[in-house]
């Protein structure tokens, strides 16, 4: 058991507390803090949606078609008489579920593949990177469209359709993360402790997961935050194109799609889901940028 020196105790005592760290972060990253506030708000909206509204997001009310925003319906109602605020609140569940799932799964798979590719190097790395090149040659939306179109032809059940949307969005994210992580892992592979681990006879899996992966967590976390916004936007795009979730499920892209016909005479039907998408993507991107700045030693020192 080692003794703690006086200097070490002082260092621990002088280390800023959580609130102090948050305050520092807010001072240095005001935009990122704004993004974080939006992210937290959206998460709270998704969790507490049933407590924030008295309406059912899928129940039609034919006496209330096209009601303009008022005290009873602060965001108005849509063509089915459904409260738009309620649908926006519940829509955050769809958006965040798809966004977080795609970002976490896509980044994690990308992390493992990227580190593995860097670790093995040689022909494995070469083949793997060319496959990544092929995937990355397609814009995200085109890839997602292709995948979701293929899965549609499989005639999956409607409940499964959201999972196929997740697959369609996740697959194109994987190579992006793998490529970024690989570049960090290539440097780590050359550090002596990896050689030491090899010399000790540790398995490849152990070296990758216990010695290399923890050292590329910074780019991994940055990619996750960046991907959530992208995934929300992709899900909304697919729903807008009629390839995502289907009515009457509340989803922002689908709400926008349905609003097209009424945009001139009842613009509020389009405005609120549009605002929800824009603000959400903006918030996640700002937060992601701030996390990147905070975790990047070069930017941090500046």
């Amino acid at each position: 058991m080692s003794d703690v020196t006086t200097e070490q105790l002082e260092e621990i005592r002088d280390r800023p507390g959580l609130l102090s760290q948050i305050a520092t972060f807010a001072r240095k990253q005001p935009l990122g803090t704004g993004g974080a506030v939006v992210v937290i708000l959206y998460v709270l909206m998704a969790i507490f949606a049933p407590y924030l509204t008295a309406f059912d997001p899928t129940a039609n009310s034919y006496d209330s078609q096209f009601v303009a925003p008022n005290a009873q319906f602060p965001m108005g109602t849509d063509e089915w008489g459904r409260d738009i605020l309620t649908r926006v609140l519940y829509g955050s569940r769809t958006a965040l579920f798809v966004g977080f799932t795609c970002a976490i799964v896509g980044s994690t798979v990308g992390l493992v593949l990227g580190v593995g590719s860097a670790y093995f190097g040689g022909i494995v790395d070469l083949i793997f990177q060319r496959i990544m090149d092929v995937f990355m040659a397609f814009p995200l939306i085109i890839m997602a469209l292709a995948i979701v179109s293929i899965t549609q032809s499989l005639q999956v059940s409607p409940e499964s359709s959201v999972y196929f949307v997740i697959i369609a969005i996740t697959l194109p994210l994987i190579p992006n993360c793998a490529r970024v992580v690989r570049s960090s892992a290539l440097a780590i592979r050359e550090i002596p402790y990896v050689d030491a681990a090899r010399a000790n006879g540790f398995s490849d899996t152990r070296i990758i997961l216990r010695h290399m992966v923890p050292n590329v967590m910074a780019p991994y976390l940055i990619m996750i935050t960046a991907f959530v916004g992208q995934a929300i936007l992709l899900e909304a795009s697919l729903s807008f194109l009629g390839l995502g979730v289907q009515d009457p499920v509340p989803a922002w892209g689908l709400m926008l799609r349905n609003a097209q016909e009424f945009i001139r005479t009842e613009p509020w039907i389009a405005i609120w889901p549009g605002v929800a998408i824009t603000l959400g993507v903006f918030g996640f991107n700002l937060f992601g940028d701030a996390v990147r700045d905070a975790l990047d030693p070069k930017l941090r020192s500046q």
């Binding site: 289907q246 009457p248 097209q260």
Partner: protein
Amino acid sequence: MRTKMWKFALGAVAAAAMTTGAVAETPKSGGTLNFVVGSKIPSYDGHIETTFGMIHPISPFYSLLIRVNPDNPSENDFQCDVCSSWDASADGLTYTYKIRDDVKFHDGTPMTAQDVLATYNKIVFPPEGVASSRKAFYKMVKSMSAPDDTTFVMNLEYPSGAYLPAMASPFNYIYSKKDLDEHGMNWHQKNVNGSGPFKFVQHQPGAFVEGVKYDGYHHEGRPYLDGFKAISAPKMSARVQAIEGDRASIEFRAFPPKQRDDLVAALGDKITVQESDWNCVLMATPNHERPPFDDPRVRKALTLAIDRWGGSEYLSKIAIVKTVGGIVFPNHPLAATEEELVQIAGYSKDLEASREEARRLLKEAGAEGLKFTFNNRGVDQPYRVVGTWLVDQWKQVGLEVDQQVNPSPVFYDILRKTGEFDVSIDFNCQSVINPIADVSKFLPSAGNNYANFEDAEIEALYDKLARAGTFEEQRALMREYETMVLNDKATQAITLWWYKINPYRSYVKGWKIAPSHYLGQQLDQIWLDK
């Protein structure tokens, strides 16, 4: 019967009278008509296709034997196109058509009765392996012949009021016998050689179809236009904007009420609107092979849950549907009156009683809280709108329904090939109003009935209906058939009949709305007042 037919005609005229003043004007020649089409062209062959995506851009290239008068398309006012006259024998079993001797195909070949014979042989008695979508409409036809180049004769098994309307189908393009003999029965799927008012110039897939005036057209003085361009625009917002920006003058299918209002608000009297009931209806078709939809109580519960009278009011604000009706085009003399309709399950004005009965039937059948998937077509108007409405209606009686919206090819595959569905949306869209032929859709043996069942009783009743000699007999049998299909056996559930709204540039003249988006599409009656 005469009185009823007269009332029907008056109703149709009233629909057309919603147009701006129909003052007779002298047509002007010249100009190119640009119009937008919201669907793709599967092939050019009218004998196999069923979509407006084909008929709108391709019909101007072809002639018909007889057609619905394009100047009076609201009624079954038939006129000769390539014939000069027709006669029916006293017993109604022989129809003789005299074919004009001045009709030429666009490649210069003169048209004779042999071409008409070859065409109708392809439609009515297609060789094995050759598709003919409306073959079932001609069940009464026994034989046909062309004794000389200007005479075409059709012999019927039994006299039928459904025969002449079937002959006026706008899909029955007259093909050249030479083309059929030399190139085969499938040649017209990818090639055009007609005798219509316009000659084919080019088709840029996904972009447009272009036609130019045919100087040798057999109706003197027509067409008035120098040409036309059918512009492909799958998105409705693009079609509306094309008309608003004057890049296109008209869309011949229809727009929902909101789009009509937008265009009128934006363009005022530069926009003319015509509206009409539409010979088109969406229905919910349960798969009888899949339990519990093999149980008539469950199927009846599905139809009892639907609020048709309320739906007519609120759905008509957002979709191209409006009219409550049974299996026959509403307001036709053979259609059920409101008093007759309310006797059918799901048409009662006491909605709560209907839904209570639906819940009782579901409980009795052990299908309380049934969860199923509703197969829908990925077309917004009116499929997705009506689908979303149905999901909500069924929810009111405790059913839990997931809507599965599929692109058209997948949707058709499910209906026609795999049969893997619980309940599906389906449609019955016809051209010429011909109730006796149109209701063949509900026959278990009909090629386009996707409910997957057999029923000798329905088949026998339809056979009696098809052979009924008098109007009174037809009407009585039609009621019996309708009650059997919609009420007793609840084989399918009718939703709402479509309602056609056509806002278009006011300088487009000569076009009159029809109760079908398939009719009046040769464009030889249209002129531009610019």
